[in-house]
Symmetry: C2
Subunit: 742 residues, 2 copies
């Protein structure tokens, strides 16, 4: 059994940034890094907001961090007690990841006696704009001498940003009309680019007799609570913080103020209960039990915790950033990670969220069409790094040459065309798993037709020759740029054509709403003809005659054969880029991440198992796994090849990526740390679709278990076509029970 | 008037390598760098041979330097007098470039008196395997004291190589059977790669009483001539050297020995006369007189001298290397330089040489087909750097990254597909100017069909779209790699199709030999249909609506606009490469050399003069002129736009490139110096086709003079369709006189 709690004892300055990710709490609207209440900007404090962005000057456009309403520190007899400045006697942080509750406990040997500080906080899963914190202190001492205590608490608007500051203006104030007891403090920040407003509202409850004074300095608005403290007695401060932006509601300020006042009225404990109940509901449909491997069960459910923390439930059209809500890394942008690595978790446990993620893509179709047009193409070319409206935050220059300090031209934005197919894949997967045409009727059908038009416009053929090809692309393996006929990309384009054909031939006539939307805007017969032709003639490289291996792209087999170890020996600088035109991997067979293997996972039914395993065996030793998207693809395909023992280490690598807290956090001077939700989603897919072997057969949910050596069994819920199922797998037998409506 | 002699006084160690090029003598079979007889390997001595190559280990394959039969130095009373070791009192080198005779004169203040050393030598234009030298010494002194003199002379087989040594074996010997007076010394070197043999044979004449002893040491075989020398008397040594290779003749050794013996018998002076007479003959059909600008006339005719020095006249199928016969730079390989920049000179002055150059391409068609096949294409893809048999000496890695020391992948070899069209252009130009179909009948027609097949196989089209395109190429401007629809390349491919069509539609039926060769090997009707379709549909970018500028390739106009000056400011290292994926020019509009402008020169008849000048004005400030092939293209096009004053500086830059001796000689530690025959040819084209405006109108030779400001007139011979013409241009009038058979 696992206890649903992770903790770390002791204080280590080096772990500050990594703790920020590992102990994160969130509710999809916002994510709060697992930092301490007394931490400031330099400790990477962030209350990271979903779906709102800003750009300053030439810096990268990135999501906003809100002013930090949790900010609190303590002073006893004029001496501050806070980390990292004051050396503690004991220190522990913990996270109840069953309920998204973060706690810290620190003791200091103070002159006045043994000082203990306990804090607890959560980002309410019940009220997405609400953050609550309990802050309690106690001094244990034989004497009865009263202590002059001060708690400074309020809102720290001196926000950590990677490419900020984003607030041109900060309005810090209290509600003048209120009486002291109900007095709110408020910060409104106005963003640079579009003048959006982010409002943070705070009230508190502190029962002991005390005096309050408002202090505004250094972009902080703080209450100074002074009181006489008795040794042996615990003093508890409760804070209620709300966060709203002008994009949420025109009346956002009123809502923000009312929310904290009402929450205070309800009380901390009650709010905690409501919050925890929501979490229990989530686990009810998502907890994965593993019999015989607690480490795996903990790592996996901890991964699911992170997916829950970032799932948008406060809106019906929003997606998830590559680093979730853990900060501004990767610009808070949405990558193909969402559709290809996270979607299945939501599809199987909370289909409404899956729909919300895909609605984001439907809503950003105009942005995708604009991008295609910019490059001279028809149809929809989705953003490689998508922000609001489908704006592509990806730069043409994404990597710094460590030898010259110059920016290197990269082609992720303009050549990684497989992104559009990922969107199609997500939508069709939703349609197939839910059986609902609603998403298609709601704009999804157009997305698919536009993506197919995009690929159709990209198709080239040799004048002497019949087959259609896609040239000058980057596949999932980014170390090999500008290649022709990347198998993954070609196959995904074919999938897109086939999906469009399915709509044009069948689905359009099954739902009058789809027909209504499409018939006047498109020449349906003409498109069908084009896409059918494209699907028939698009070149999909086949397993080679001898070894059964599928060539990753034209010319891959002719590249240098070299081991990853030997390649590493060629590095002249530990941070140098392996890809690009002259990287050490570029002219070798070494690839960054699963590429052909990803394709084989998605289309495994088209190949003999022997081909799957031959390609696994060929590509695995040639894969650096330099992306967190790689391991799970090897894990799942290994399961499909009945090699669970080979799958297991890759599964654990994916599942442990955040709990280990050992992810790469720095690229030169740029912070690239954060959580890895694609890895989490990949771990889930491995467990459910790999080890349990969940799949569809003629529209029916089936399992085909293939457990790793140490596992005795698995049990988990899964939603399919609006019904909840429970899958039970033991070594002896396995079953699927229909539990009815979820 | 010019005096047909260049000279430099004084000795400067720094000028040794540059003098090697500037004072070169040659006869097409071999080139002898303008070094001194006492120089050795470290002074870059080279007797560079045409058309014979060798590769050792991983080094670049390069042409051979023969053992140096001129090697001679002097010792008086046991003291050596030689440069650069002994500081001279006076020193002068000179070149009679009317007759290809090189002289040196050096005086030393010797203990014995004022020592004067005069040498004169030539690479016989009359006997291509023969080199002759006169070596005379004199001591001026009041005293009558005899001096112990020693002349060491023979063959230095310690040869300078860039990627050598190439002789696995050196056989140094004398002809045992001979008497002393006629004794020959001989060196045979056996090459590493294919065991070719290079034989050098030497004999001498020295009339004063002397003793001879043969000394073999340090890869030198030398005669030690000892004699008593009287002050005030001149002593003359004559040397006769022959060079043959086993590729010239199976009996090469016999020929080599007989040649030096016979030459000695004939005598130096007579040999010099015969040699000079041949040069006079060459000038008779090539000298360009310029009235009013001696500097230009000297620079131009000096350029023509270099072209004469490297013209293959000893065989009927050989081409010219990019650095002529000045050494091993650029691997002694044949580039597009020959057809596009040198051919016209020979076509107008010595059509037999032009034919020999083109026959080389016909003979290397199998190599070109093999290269195409290697890359998966049909037809003929000529070598970017062609050695014997059409072997492509170009490497995939041609540039060293100055920041990492790593080799950078370049694409000259595989993407610079315009090379095949240059061959076609050369052949068709020969056909049009000579009116002879012989070259076509002799294999030229197949070359053209195979090149057209190559381009046809490369054509791609968008599936949605009708036009044919050429993707992923490099045009003449090498700073922009892997571009689509490079206008120059597309236009040259169309030219190739049109040439093939002309053959298939017309010429094949005009010459029964052509018909016989082609009809069984090709489906002539099918090819005609294909090529006609290709020519009709191949996309040729047009002048843009607003500015009349033709885009160099897809996307060029969107690149960064930056001045060359500003760009230079971005250099971090003075030797860093401007091109490649991340070079400073790569993502800007700055180009290395004429690209669109070259195309406009070749097809100027297709455009209004306004378009020509608009493109000249647009591209010139964006051109770095980082190649010696650039200036002349701007010069010629300026003439076509009636801007002779703008043409002039570019003309002079081309014409002065070798005489100035200021060319770039080093790239890091690699010697890249040598002569610039393409520049020389470009200067000639500018003078004849630019300033004089020679062109064809309905098959008739016409002129359209456009003289630069300072010129009063021009006069030159020109051969057209087997008749010699004299063109006379003054400010007032111009005329063409037919002088009958040349």
């Amino acid at each position: 059994m696992i206890n649903w709690r992770i903790e770390e004892e002791g204080f280590d300055q080096e772990r500050i940034s990594s703790h920020g990710n590992k102990f994160l709490v969130g509710n999809g609207y916002l994510g709060i890094r697992g930092t301490l209440p007394e931490y400031e900007k330099k400790e990477f404090v962030a209350v990271n907001l979903a779906g709102i962005y800003d750009q300053v000057g030439d810096g990268w456009r990135e999501p906003l961090n809100a002013p930090n309403g949790l900010y609190t520190y303590l002073r006893l007899n004029n001496k501050e007690y806070r980390l990292p400045q004051s050396e503690p006697e004991q220190h522990k942080v913990s996270l109840d990841y069953r309920h998204g509750v973060y706690e810290r406990s620190t003791t200091w040997n103070a002159a006045e006696g043994r000082l203990t500080l306990l804090t607890q906080r959560f980002a309410s899963m019940d009220e997405k704009h609400l953050i609550c914190m309990r802050y309690s202190i106690k001094v244990e001492d034989e004497s009865e001498q009263e202590i002059d205590a001060e708690i400074f608490t309020g809102i720290d608007a001196e926000v950590w940003d990677i490419n900020g500051p984003h607030y041109d203006e900060l309005n810090m104030r209290t509600n003048a009309e209120g009486n002291t007891a109900d007095e709110l403090i408020m910060v409104t920040g106005t963003t640079h680019e579009s003048g959006d407003q982010v409002g943070v509202y705070e009230t508190y409850r502190f029962d002991p007799m005390h005096q309050q004074e408002i202090v505004i300095e250094d972009n902080k608005i703080l209450r100074r609570l002074t009181f006489k403290m008795k040794p042996g007695k615990e003093y508890q401060l409760f804070k209620f913080i709300s966060v709203y932006t002008s994009k949420d509601h025109t009346d956002y300020e009123k809502l923000g103020r009312e929310l904290v006042s009402a929450s205070k009225h309800t009380g901390y404990q009650k709010k905690l209960e409501l919050h925890s109940k929501q979490w229990e509901k989530l686990w009810c449909n998502s907890e994965v039990m593993i019999d015989g491997d607690d480490e795996a069960m903990e790592a996996l459910n901890y991964s699911l915790y992170h997916l829950h923390c970032i799932a948008p439930r406060h809106t019906d059209h929003l997606s998830i950033a590559a680093r979730g809500l853990s900060g501004q890394t990767y610009k808070g942008a949405v990558f193909w990670d969402t559709e290809m690595f996270m979607l299945d978790f939501f599809l199987f446990t909370e289909p409404e969220v899956a729909k919300t993620l895909l609605k984001y893509r439907i809503d950003t179709l105009p942005g995708a069409k604009k991008k295609a047009e910019y490059y001279g193409y028809q149809g929809a070319f989705y953003a490689w790094e998508s922000q609001e409206g489908g704006y592509d935050a990806c730069s043409d220059y994404n990597v710094t040459d460590v030898f010259t300090g110059r920016q290197m031209r990269t082609y992720f934005k303009d050549k990684q065309i497989h992104i559009s197919a990922a969107v199609v894949y997500g939508i069709m997967r939703y349609v197939n798993y839910t059986g609902s045409l609603e998403l298609l009727a709601d704009g999804g059908a157009e997305v698919i037709l536009e993506c197919a038009s995009f690929y159709y416009d990209l198709l080239v053929k040799k004048v002497r020759g019949d087959r259609y090809e896609l040239h000058d692309v980057i596949g999932p393996d980014e170390y090999h740029e500008r290649v022709n006929n990347n198998t993954y990309t070609n196959r995904m384009a074919k999938y897109t054509f086939d999906s469009a054909i399915q709509i044009l031939r069948k689905l359009v006539y099954q739902d009058v709403r789809i027909e209504e939307r499409l018939k006047d805007r498109y020449d349906l017969t003409g498109l069908l003809e084009q896409f059918q032709d494209a699907s028939d003639r698009l070149y999909i490289p086949e397993p080679d005659q001898k070894g059964g291996v599928i060539e990753q792209f034209d010319g891959y087999f002719a590249l240098e054969e070299v081991s990853i170890e030997e390649l590493k020996g060629r590095l002249l600088h530990d941070k140098e880029y392996w890809g690009g035109a002259y990287g050490i991997a570029t002219h070798t067979k070494v690839i960054k991440q699963a590429d052909v293997v990803t394709m084989l996972n998605l289309f495994s039914q088209d190949y003999e198992e022997e081909i799957l395993s031959k390609n696994w065996e060929y590509y695995e030793p040639r894969t650096e796994h330099g992306s967190s998207l790689s391991a799970c693809m090897y894990a799942i395909l290994a399961c499909k090849c009945h090699m669970p023992e080979k799958a297991y280490p890759f599964f654990m690598k994916s599942a442990l990526s955040d709990i280990s807290g050992k992810g790469k956090e720095w690229a030169g001077l740029i912070y690239i740390g954060g959580t890895h939700p694609a890895s989490s989603g990949g771990a889930y897919m491995t467990a459910i679709e790999g080890f349990a072997g969940v799949h569809l057969e003629q529209g029916e949910l089936k399992i085909k278990p293939c457990l790793p050596p140490g596992w005795n069994g698995m049990s988990f819920p899964i939603i399919y076509r609006d019904e909840l199922y429970r899958v039970e797998i033991t070594k002896e037998q396995s079953s699927i029970h229909n539990l009815g409506k979820p």
